[in-house]
Symmetry: C2
Subunit: 113 residues, 2 copies
């Protein structure tokens, strides 16, 4: 899927809307881990963790490799960056609008005084 | 709601997981607008747009003010920043891990040659 496409944004933002999936991302940011390793600290079943990992994989936020018997999950920083890029474009636009408004207000104040 | 709390992250990321709501955010980044103004370019009913705006409002991404008869919606840049902050912490951590791995690989290569 094209990174930053509407579908990818839909599924990646939806993937982040869950505290277990965010905790999995936080864990994977410190290094790759298998499903068993990821499931260990959670008070939910391995099956439930496995489903969350599938959602993350389908969203493109994580990838899985094969190393012999192990199939570790890896966090993809480029997929995370596509999300911050989308958000930042709009955040910076609105902040620019605020600054423009401040300038107008300052000019009006100067004219008054 | 505390900004950056688990509940706020849940609802704000879920709010961004919809293309109509992202289009509304893009529109509001250019300046405040009423529900009627926001609904105008969309090929869906004003009621449907209204529901999406409610979701955005509940997530804290937008706020509404009263100006006489008008109740314009405003995009909150701080709420957007709370989301990029969360993502960036984990993106920067994984990128640091990658750099560390590169250094280890470079050292191994040097020892080999």
């Amino acid at each position: 899927m094209k990174q930053g496409s509407e579908e990818q944004l839909n599924s990646a933002f939806a993937a982040l809307a869950d505290p277990v999936r965010r905790a999995l991302i936080a864990r994977l940011s410190r290094g790759p881990a298998t499903v068993n390793e990821l499931a260990e600290p959670f008070p939910i079943t391995k099956q439930a963790v496995s489903k969350h990992i599938q959602v993350l994989e389908q969203s493109g936020l994580i990838t899985r490799t094969r190393e012999g018997q192990r199939r570790p999950c890896h966090l993809d920083p480029a997929a995370l960056e596509a999300l911050t890029s989308w958000i930042d474009i709009h955040r910076l636009t609105v902040e620019r609008q605020f600054r423009r408004l401040d300038t107008v207000l300052d000019t009006l104040k100067e004219k008054e005084s």
